[in-house]
């Protein structure tokens, strides 16, 4: 594979950016500051008390400056966060959250493969509180209400999105603000990954024209206990900044989250008080970023469901679990993506526009820095069906005996031999040529192939059992010298076929297919 980067092209291909206007920084008034500084990634959150005194509101914001030396670096991210925090009601929550230790993330990343296939399974040995491990946080330092991440850690953090997800399963049963903050972190982290899928090339020092837009500076996730509070906060934010609500359109019902129970299942609608009733995504630029994050629903405890809309279509997915938060694995989202348009056919369309879906891919290697993450390197081993062009597309008739799963039970079984027959008796019952092979000889083994032979009219012809050698285990030069392809040249076909032979007006050509020879002597094969 030759990537654009490997051939020295560092400029992003605009053809890969589905929305090139995303790269326009001047639309964000927050980023107009001329201050040049080294900006860390700031991930903040705060719990805000509602009138009842319950810490219900969480505000997360990610600000990302550029690396050192970049002239377009913007505002102090803390200012951004504090301005945002000042707009919402109440003071910031008392407690911050803390990211897991770096080693813990590494370990979780290693255990990701076990989690990948069963995302609802809790990680073993991760039942202790994370707060006890705060002291081992060398890469980052945390302050009162947030975690400051050095910019050089950004890529690693991005790559560890799934590790954070695994950590979330750990932290989540504590509930409260910590879990919320972790969730926000997860959401924003995943969002950053999705932008990476668009093909955005990160800043490179040798690039002459540097990008002017730090990624994900202006994405905000709001979580509120009530729809009214969410609406209020959105309005307050939109008064100050140019923002766009990405989750739901403000339809006639007023609250964008009045339709949340519709998007949810009946189970959450039956619960009288939904703790976190709304999760919305805002962006300060005029283009959608966070497109698929839809809701967090919880009834009365540290149980959260964060499902992408793509996978929340079935009610089984929305049933609240009892002990463990269920997060859809990004790899599963990749395969199951389908926009939820058919779950409520009578409901009015609530989205402003169908968002562009970009699959999440996280590289298996934690030190991977290139933005390109292929499906293989992300661990998606399931082949893409539409790219499989092998010709074996014959389907057996429905009444036919299926292909046996056990070779021994089929071949060794007398009735199985009767059903699945090979074309000729391969193996004589009385072997005459058994011998001991010389030392070091390659012994080729094989496998049985069972195949339904279909006649031209679609009916079942016969059950074919076929012993095929694993020729790929033979080594070149050692086991064979030259290979031979008995394929006629196309030029020969063209030279012979279209020409009427002299002396014969109508050439009589015939096509024959050679079946496996009946005789078993000689060097014949099929």
């Amino acid at each position: 594979m030759v990537t654009r980067r490997s051939v020295g092209v560092l400029r992003p291909s605009t053809g890969w950016c589905s929305r090139p206007t995303l790269l326009q920084i001047p639309t964000c008034p927050l980023l107009r500051s001329r201050r040049s500084r080294r900006s860390p990634l700031v991930l903040r959150h705060g719990g805000v008390h509602d009138p009842a005194g319950q810490p219900h509101l969480g505000l997360g914001a990610v600000s990302l400056g550029h690396q050192r030396g970049h002239r377009q670096v913007d505002f102090p991210p803390q200012v951004h966060v504090r301005r945002l925090a000042g707009l919402v009601e109440g003071p910031l929550g008392p407690s911050g959250f803390h990211l897991a230790p770096w080693s813990g993330l590494r370990r979780d990343l290693q255990s990701r493969r076990q989690v990948r296939n069963r995302s609802d399974r809790p990680l073993p040995g991760l039942d202790g509180p994370l707060a006890g491990r705060q002291e081992c946080l060398p890469p980052w330092h945390s302050n009162q209400d947030g975690v400051l991440l050095p910019a050089r850690r950004l890529r690693q953090l991005r790559l560890l999105g799934s590790g954070l997800q695994a950590e979330l399963l750990h932290v989540w049963p504590q509930g409260g603000t910590t879990g919320l903050a972790q969730l926000l972190h997860l959401l924003l982290g995943l969002t950053r990954l999705r932008r990476g899928q668009v093909g955005h090339v990160p800043i490179h020092p040798s690039t002459q024209r540097r990008h002017r837009l730090p990624l994900y500076v202006d994405d905000i996730v709001l979580v509120t206990p009530s729809a009214a509070l969410l609406q209020h906060n959105i309005a307050a934010l939109q008064r100050e900044f140019t923002m766009k609500d990405l989750s739901l359109s403000t339809n006639s019902s007023g609250s964008p989250w009045s339709n949340a129970p519709r998007a949810s299942s009946s189970t959450s609608a039956n619960t009288p008080s939904t703790f976190w009733s709304g999760l919305t995504c805002l962006t300060t630029s005029l283009a959608p970023r966070l497109s698929t994050l839809r809701r967090i629903s919880d009834n009365d405890g540290p149980v959260y469901h964060c499902r992408w809309q793509a996978t929340a279509s079935t009610p089984a997915d929305l049933a609240p679990s009892t002990s463990v938060a269920c997060f859809t694995d990004p790899g599963l989202i990749y395969h199951h993506h389908e926009w939820d348009s058919s779950s409520a056919p009578d409901a009015p369309p609530t989205r402003i526009e169908p968002p562009v879906y970009h699959p999440i891919a996280i590289h298996c290697d934690p030190v991977h820095v290139h933005p390109m993450v292929t499906r293989h390197t992300a661990g998606f081993l399931c082949p893409v069906d539409r790219l499989i062009l092998v010709a074996n597309t014959t389907t057996a008739p429905p009444d036919a005996s299926p292909v046996p799963s056990s070779v021994r039970a089929t071949i060794a079984d007398p009735t199985g031999v009767m059903l699945w027959r090979s074309t000729r008796p391969y193996w004589p019952t009385t072997p005459r040529t058994w011998c001991r092979c010389p030392l070091g000889t390659k012994v080729v083994t094989g496998k049985w192939i069972f195949r339904h032979k279909i006649t031209s009219d679609g009916s079942l012809d016969r059950y074919k059992a076929h012993w095929v050698f694993w020729g790929f285990t033979q080594r070149p030069v050692v086991d064979y010298d030259e290979t031979f392809s008995p394929v006629v040249k196309f030029a020969t076909v063209r030279a012979v076929l279209p020409r009427p032979l002299p002396g014969l007006g109508d050439p009589s050509a015939s096509c024959q297919e050679c079946l496996p020879p009946r005789q078993s002597d000689g060097d014949c094969l099929l």
Partner: protein, 159 residues
């Protein structure tokens, strides 16, 4: 050709001597030596009945007896026969069927993705069906054709 040893096939392992392996008397499907073994087998028989391997292509065999000329094309296990007379064609088919298990598919109309259409001045060899099959397997049979499969209104940045 190299001597090939293979393990005993699953389900047919000799219980008394499970540690023995087989020495191949003849080639079977899957080996690297298989195509050449098949070619040697087929070409030797064709030589015995009078065919000569063409210098142009090793898979084109020519039979000449006076005015009678016959061409044989071998494509793995598909054979195309073209002869001057129907009698010569029939004799060759009988000779081949005596040696190999064959099935006569009749007049040539389809050969390795090439459809042959008889015209008075010769045969037309379109590959339309072959292209359609590829499109169907790729699930693109409903796609609209495009002469230039790139974005025409690209912003002009050199890649």
């Amino acid at each position: 050709m190299e001597t090939v040893f293979c393990s005993q096939p699953t389900g047919f392992v000799d219980a008394a001597r499970p540690d023995l392996v087989c020495r191949m008397n003849r080639s079977l499907y899957g080996l690297k030596q298989t195509p050449q073994a098949w070619y040697n087998r087929f070409a030797s028989y064709l030589a015995s009945i009078g065919f000569v391997e063409a210098k142009l292509d090793t898979f084109l065999f020519i039979y000449r007896r006076g005015e009678d000329t016959e061409y044989l094309l071998l494509y793995v296990d598909d054979i195309v026969l073209t002869a001057f007379t129907a009698d010569l064609l029939r004799r060759t088919i009988v000779a081949l069927q005596r040696e190999f298990a064959m099935k006569d598919l009749g007049p040539l109309h389809h050969f390795s993705g090439i459809t042959t259409e008889r015209r008075p001045q010769g045969s037309l060899l379109p590959q339309r069906q072959y292209a359609i099959d590829i499109l169907e397997r790729a699930g693109m049979s409903d796609c609209k054709p495009c002469s230039t499969p790139v974005e025409c209104r690209h912003s002009g940045e050199a890649l």
